[in-house]
């Protein structure tokens, strides 16, 4: 019986043409679609960012009107958070989880298909508002990605409703993806793989999935309240009707802070896979890594109001949120310590994934440190809503989360395609990306400390030089990503054959499968000792 089934699988019965993608229930095809979708959104969101930076090259208004500038910052933020980082991580989870735990596929393949195909609808709707705005029909959402009430309720443009329903769809998609991840990890691990033997990437995604399930519904609730405030006469956030706009910020950040860990925990997992491979040593402190991830997830629920220190909180509240935020540095420090210790006395080589991983460790830690500065209440009153904040979250999201995604793509691309990527091009991409992102984001610390507010299209003369440096960095960074696109296409189309191990001494079940990995990963579960 077994032999018969296996014979069938060598045929990889997949429908041809577009049907293969529209009706796909295969974790690899869906993973690829997620990743390509994220890549497309990366270029769209990036183009918006380049428009922003071009406008900020000089003081005064050159390219865009202030109201359109606000739409650019809003959509840039929304697309990068919900359209790039999150789908890219879900794509990586789809590709890797079944291979890493020795399963044939995800546990809920049809739901997997649906959760992907909701995304083009969601972002089509969101981007439609921008297209309409460019064509002169009203304004796209212009209240910032945090959509604070009453900016988004009383003063929101008509397209806010597009935004609301698009967030609903994204939320449903994320929640279904998370349910799938949890069901897969709980039920489909190979015999012998108990929880404390799972690869760290699997662990971080397991915890991330719980975070998604806990907070995406709260976001859905927040936008639903907005919707009823706008159209059905409720007053959740309207002071005249007994509501409170500050409460919006509490609800939003109750979602928002766990959300930022949703965007970084899988990154921690990726780095914890890559660093041991290229150090040729097992990961230092596996169990402390697991516990640190769990503690960060727990702490993420009790720190949200550090985004709101200037709203007029009582001192006791400010102190609580300041200390609990500082506490996060402890488990995060454990992780950084473990990565460095893994490298310590290892026989290191510096292939592109390792370069991105090391850049991640260094630059993410810098973003973490500016986070610590921001959590100090008296200092935050100066930093709040300045470019210092912009510098902080771009260090953790671009040189943090985005770098980890690039590292993961380089690390697993040979496994996915069966070909080695062009190492020379990869190194070129890394150095251009790494240097330009620092040219882009580092000066923002200085202009922020000097008092330049975020989300403004015009600024005082003394900020000109640093803004120009940042803009130059932005354009180099943006165009360097075309190398990445070219490299991936080249690798998909051909190249040196990859071995099943891909990297010398690489550990993990995914490296026991041949490269490219078969359509159904482990049709007979491997034995894990």
């Amino acid at each position: 019986m077994n032999a018969v089934i296996e014979e069938h699988h060598d045929h990889d019965h997949k429908p041809g043409g577009i049907g293969r993608w529209l009706f796909s229930t295969n974790h690899k095809d869906i993973g690829s679609m997620y990743l390509w979708f994220a890549f497309l959104m990366f270029f769209i969101g990036g183009s918006l960012a380049l428009l922003i930076r071009a406008e900020l090259f000089q003081p005064g208004l050159q390219i865009v009107e202030p109201d359109f500038f606000n739409q650019l910052t809003t959509l840039h933020g929304l697309i990068m958070v919900f359209g790039v980082i999150m789908p890219a991580f879900v794509g990586l989870a789809n590709w890797q989880l079944p291979m890493m735990i020795g399963a044939p596929d995800m546990a809920l393949p049809r739901m997997n298909n649906w959760s992907f195909w909701l995304l083009p609808g969601a972002f089509g709707m969101l981007l439609a508002s921008l297209v309409m705005s460019i064509m002169g029909m009203g304004s796209a959402p212009n209240f910032g990605w945090t959509f604070y009430a009453p900016l988004s309720t009383t003063y929101g443009p008509s397209s806010t409703d597009f935004f609301i329903f698009s967030v609903h769809l994204m939320g449903i998609s994320s929640v279904m993806g998370a349910i799938n991840v949890i069901a897969t990890i709980m039920n489909m691990r190979a015999p012998g793989m108990n929880y404390m033997k799972m690869p760290i990437f699997v662990w971080t995604w397991f915890i991330t999935a719980y975070l998604l399930i806990a907070v995406m519904p709260v976001l859905a609730g927040a936008v639903t309240m907005m919707l009823t405030d706008r159209h059905f006469g409720t007053s959740f956030f309207n002071a005249a009707g007994g509501g409170d706009p500050v409460m919006f910020q509490h609800i939003f950040w109750f979602f928002g802070h766990p959300e930022v860990y949703i965007m970084i925990l899988p990154a921690f997992g990726i780095i914890s896979q890559i660093v041991p491979t290229f150090s040729r040593k097992p990961l230092f402190g596996y169990s402390s890594m697991v516990y640190a991830t769990a503690s960060i997830a727990f702490l993420s629920f009790i720190v949200w109001a550090h985004h709101m220190f200037t709203t007029g909180m009582p001192v006791a509240g400010e102190l609580f949120f300041m200390y609990s935020t500082m506490l996060i540095a402890v488990p995060t420090g454990v992780k950084v310590f473990n990565w460095v210790s893994t490298m310590w006395k290892g026989s290191l080589t510096f292939e592109t994934p390792m370069l991105f991983a090391i850049a991640f460790i260094f630059l993410f830690t810098m973003g973490g440190f500016t986070g610590l500065m921001l959590c100090i209440v008296p200092a935050d009153f100066q930093y709040h809503d300045t470019y210092f904040v912009v510098a902080h979250f771009h260090y953790v999201l671009v040189t943090g989360a985005a770098f980890s995604i690039m590292a993961a793509v380089y690390y697993w691309l040979p496994k996915w395609t069966g070909h080695m990527y062009d190492e020379k091009l990869g190194k070129l991409h890394f150095w251009l990306t790494c240097i330009s992102s620092n040219v882009l984001f580092f000066p923002m610390h200085f202009i922020g400390l000097a008092g330049m507010p975020r989300r403004i299209p015009d600024y005082a003369l003394q900020f000109t030089e640093f803004n120009q440096i940042a803009t130059i960095g932005a354009f180099v960074f943006g165009f360097s990503q075309l190398i990445f696109l070219y490299l991936i296409i080249k690798c998909v189309r051909g190249g040196e054959k990859a071995t099943s191990e891909v990297w010398e001494g690489a550990q993990g079940l995914e490296f026991e499968l041949p490269s490219p990995a078969p359509f159904h990963s482990y049709t007979t579960p491997p034995e894990v000792k």
Binding site: I213, P217, M247, G312
Partner: protein
């Protein structure tokens, strides 16, 4: 063949699916958290009430028949008035401050005038600073308990009667009572939208 072999790959022994209970629990969690988002609304109010944070003053209380008056202590209450957005009213207190003995009911007047050519209904929202003093500031009569409607050009005196609690902590000798008038959304949907629109237009003119 497809359906058959697909189900066999994922479930080689044809055991009852282990996924169902997991999905059921997780969907329950999703519903719970959606509800929790809404529960944050009353929880927020309760939290502010219990802790006295946010400067929210309490509901109307009945005038005490014979309360104790702390003759030895004088507390200064400063009155502030502001209008939300571009509300076309004039609104100010008749006196900028008063010194009262804790426990003694005191009445002061605010004056509001509609300077537009339209009927406008407003709702005043009170706030006390420092926030922790809000729990010791009680109102027996206030124009903020109901909505106030003014015809074009109409001027109205709006009284508020309050008692500063004798339990007011000794380190608080000055309280700030602030009222902000909002255009009532329910009765003036059009006017509030036209204000929003005019602000939006101002943005575009920038």
């Amino acid at each position: 063949m497809t359906a058959q072999s697909e189900s066999n790959i994922r479930n080689p022994d044809n055991r009852p699916s282990k996924n169902r209970p997991v999905i059921r629990k997780l969907l329950g969690l999703v519903l719970l958290m959606f509800g929790f988002g809404y529960a944050l609304v009353p929880l927020y109010d309760v939290f502010c009430d219990v802790t006295g944070l946010n400067g929210k003053t309490g509901e109307r209380i009945d005038l005490p028949v014979a309360g104790t008056i702390d003759e030895k202590r004088l507390v200064r209450v400063v009155f502030l008035a502001s209008l939300n957005e571009a509300m076309p009213w004039e609104f100010k207190p008749q006196q900028s401050f008063i010194e009262v003995h804790p426990g003694k009911p005191t009445t002061v007047n605010y004056i509001a005038k509609n300077i537009s050519d339209k009927d406008i209904t407003g709702q005043a929202v009170p706030s006390v600073a420092p926030g922790l003093a809000a729990a010791y500031f009680q109102k027996t009569e206030c124009f903020c308990f109901t909505q106030q409607a003014l015809e074009p050009g109409e001027e109205k005196i709006m009284p508020v009667t309050f008692i500063v609690d004798t339990q007011l902590p000794a380190n608080m000798n000055e309280l700030y009572l602030s009222y902000t008038f909002f255009t009532s959304q329910l009765n003036n949907k059009d006017s509030s939208q036209s204000i929003a629109l005019s602000l939006h237009n101002q943005d575009q003119k920038l």
